[in-house]
Subunit: 165 residues, 4 copies
Amino acid sequence: MYDRAMADPPEWEVAEWLNAAVPSTLASLRGEVVLACAFQMLCPGCVAHALPLMQGLHEHFGPLGLRAIGLHTVFEHHAAMTPVALCAFLHEYRIGFPVGIDRPDPAGGPMPLTMAAYRMRGTPTFLLYDRGGRLRGTQFGHAEELGMAAAVTRLLMEPEAGQGG
Amino acid sequence: MYDRAMADPPEWEVAEWLNAAVPSTLASLRGEVVLACAFQMLCPGCVAHALPLMQGLHEHFGPLGLRAIGLHTVFEHHAAMTPVALCAFLHEYRIGFPVGIDRPDPAGGPMPLTMAAYRMRGTPTFLLYDRGGRLRGTQFGHAEELGMAAAVTRLLMEPEAGQGG
Amino acid sequence: MYDRAMADPPEWEVAEWLNAAVPSTLASLRGEVVLACAFQMLCPGCVAHALPLMQGLHEHFGPLGLRAIGLHTVFEHHAAMTPVALCAFLHEYRIGFPVGIDRPDPAGGPMPLTMAAYRMRGTPTFLLYDRGGRLRGTQFGHAEELGMAAAVTRLLMEPEAGQGG
Amino acid sequence: MYDRAMADPPEWEVAEWLNAAVPSTLASLRGEVVLACAFQMLCPGCVAHALPLMQGLHEHFGPLGLRAIGLHTVFEHHAAMTPVALCAFLHEYRIGFPVGIDRPDPAGGPMPLTMAAYRMRGTPTFLLYDRGGRLRGTQFGHAEELGMAAAVTRLLMEPEAGQGG
């Protein structure tokens, strides 16, 4: 959660939202602490660690003001990780937070647009935003449960006035 | 591993073998202790527990004579758990033992043929065969690592003459 | 963390402090969010779950204002869980937060004084206090990591003015 | 399990046996596959991994012929890891196999006699003996569950005639 900060991070490019009544945009979440997790449904580290952590944070820190968001950033095995497969996956793993499908590259490259815009190195990648919409930290790979919970807590403790805007 | 025994269990009905130079049949494995695991790639208990156990048994008990076999018994989310998706899954999870795709029901029912022939209740289901080709035990659901290793060991310790035939 | 609340909880009765330059009292910690964990060094659930959780909260939430405190509440096997044994235990398990030895009952009963004053049912028991020194919740037995982190976060988010006094 | 083999390993020097109706000697166990684990009750790796593995092997492989043995080899914190403390520990952790207390050095050195005779480097150390009483392997530190089960199985599969003598 300490790699990078961006005052004006790129908006997510989402082709379709699952587990969501309405689309989420980073802009519409201004005023909330947001933790997004870019994952792939066939990434073992995402399945074993990152998504259970996201689900736990959603359940326990959602009532405190955290918005947990998944981004399905498929950059390999595209024929396997289709939208219909993702729907089955979210159902079987009982993922309860909104998941956006990162928009495929219209130029045909393997990496989807949001993943490219944030120059992610792989999955899982966590993106933590403060109430002012600033990207305050990113993390690639394994995240310790309590370390991530503390990073979220630090932003929840910041006064609303810190939203900037 | 104590539910059921069958002196003459049904042959596996496999549409396609992955991780295998040649197809396996139960008949061709006569003389070997065989542990088969029926699984689905989107079954959380299979991914978190059953397949790591099978992979560990394959690595450690393979040299002692165990043949570990996977059977992909898709009975739900058929559009998600396609052969191409299974290939990607086996690659990402580094599954090293042969996996057969249970043949879909030609009559169009949701349950594939081997799953139906063994009257499995779901996934994971373990099937343990002795050197004589007899089904010596089945288990549905979570299997304790050392309990399964001991069940395998019991059959490995049986004299070859016990193969029957 | 939802069992009991007390506006004016009993002070801890501590015979000796370890891992601490000066003794802690509940009164002296007024103004801080405090999580105390009553444990025994030979309680398997304490060793496997509660103390690693306390250590993790100490490391990650200490910088955010949490004070983690251990209370060694020996109510069985008194000849085994002596102060010298506790010192060795804390060293081997690399416990970094202050630990107080709950004062033995001068009347010779098995239960030490703080444990009795709080009517604890066993170990581990968690006691969570807000900045005003109020007991806001207790939990006996297994605590989920993120659930406990969220209970702590809720109090950290309360305004200082909520200290009462 | 591959470090060292000894055709004629030293007998254990045990001051007192717990969890045992009669004392065990290596000589008296000739004819059985034996897995001994040298441990300390305040060694975190022993408590978290080695002893649960020993207990699991005792439960699942005991009926197949394995004899699981604990050796309490105290080489540090002697005032904490006393016989009375060990008794409480075995009770709380529900250890069901015989445990021998390695005899303290009469010359007053920190390392007990069996530990010294086997030149152990620390705890946990596993010692695996075949039916002929030969030491077939040792392992210091973390042992993988299925790897250890397979090493045991390999010896259980050896014909009785292999007992030598």
